[in-house]
């Protein structure tokens, strides 16, 4: 019974919908017929030119707005694609850099070098000390065990490539001891200087005399050293021979 009633109602609704649609359809026909008569009646009427001019301007505005919208839409799409491509390139380059040994080492070396330079600067600024009488506690490099009276450790610095100890006396005369790895070449300025070849601990060495200043260059199996000072040659050689590694 209920089902039948619902079906009846649906049927009735459909019929009414159809009737109303038909009325609309017929009304549309009637409107056209009526307007045919109207057009005939007012056939001589002149539409103001300003109407078409207005439409032209209005349509241009619409067209501009549409183009702007389209441009924004297209730009958005392009930007997304560009971002994806950029990310893909970055990821690709990263993968290539990390998977090829030569590139990876270069890349890491670059980072290490930069960091070393930075730490070197930082080290000198923060850890340099003045009037240090003894060696620094963490000094693990070579140092001269013989130091003439009146000289005290003034400043020191160290990095992966070199270590430096500077002693000075009351007259501010410095005694500079430098050590570094035995690599590359050393260019010496020997203009107006007297150069002597000497032997230090079984290795060839050079002693350069520039007026009052004496510079000695020598080496061992793995390190190169230099000592600069305003002392007698013999004392300088004694200091050089006293150099040992701190444990």
């Amino acid at each position: 019974m209920n089902k039948g009633s619902r079906e009846d109602k649906e049927h009735r609704d459909k019929l009414i919908e159809t009737l109303l649609y038909s009325i609309g359809f017929d009304n549309a026909e009637v409107v056209c017929e009526e307007n045919d008569l109207l057009l005939e009646k007012y056939k001589d009427i002149e539409v103001p030119e300003s109407l078409t001019q207005w439409f032209e301007q209005y349509n241009e505005k619409l067209e501009l707005r549409r183009k702007r919208k389209e441009f924004v839409k297209r730009s958005g799409r392009f930007a997304k694609k560009a971002a994806v491509i950029f990310m893909a390139i970055i990821i690709g380059l990263g993968v290539v850099t990390m998977s090829v040994d030569a590139l990876r080492i270069r890349f890491l070396n670059m980072i290490i070098e930069v960091n070393e330079r930075f730490s070197s600067v930082e080290f000198e600024e923060r850890e340099s000390v003045e009037n240090t009488e003894d060696l620094p506690k963490d000094w693990k490099d070579y140092y001269p065990t013989v130091i003439p009276d009146g000289y005290t450790l003034n400043t020191w610095s160290t990095s992966s490539k070199s270590a430096r100890l500077v002693y000075s006396n009351e007259l501010s005369e410095e005694l500079v001891f430098i050590q570094g790895p035995l690599t590359g070449e050393v260019h010496l300025n020997t203009e107006d200087a007297v150069v002597f070849e000497i032997e230090i601990n079984g290795f060839e060495a050079l002693m350069i005399e520039e007026g009052n200043r004496i510079i000695i260059y020598w080496r061992n199996d793995s390190y190169a050293f230099s000592l600069k000072g305003y002392l007698d040659k013999e004392i300088m050689i004694k200091i050089v021979k006293s150099v040992v590694k701190n444990n």
Partner: protein, 187 residues
Amino acid sequence: MLAFLMVVEDEIKRCKLGEIYIHYYKELFITAYSILKDYQEAEDMVQNVVIKLSNNLDKISEIKCKKTRSYLVIIIRNLCYDAYNHKKGIIYLSENEIEKIPVNMGIGMEEYILGIEKSEKIAKLLSEIHQPYADILTLRFFYQLSINEISELLDITCDNVSVRIHRALNTLENVIRKEGETVEQRV
């Protein structure tokens, strides 16, 4: 004038709205003028319809057909009727009379529908209901527009659209009933 229009026509025919305008602007203007009897007001009314159309272009699938033609004429003539009534101080429908639309029309209507054999009966119905009622029913049930869409097109509130549809359906039902009674008396 003609040369100017021809140049403009070429320019604006490129888009859908332009094509609609070129095809119907004169008819729209004449329709508006026939009601308002004022050049300036008729021009304003055509502009109003064009602006409304530009926001509802998707409702028009084919430009040169009776369906589109009557759609445009129904919009402009109803806008003109409202403008005319407003000018004359006539209140066509008051919004405080709003009633819900009863779509469940009586059994009389169903019988009538079942008895329809020729389209003349519908034509007769149309001739007996007020033209704006026929138009609002056409927009709602033939063009399948929503209450909101009709409200935007005719510049009236949604409540007012509902009232008009309600009254149009009531009128239609009354006409059908009267016709049924006449037939019974003849029998």
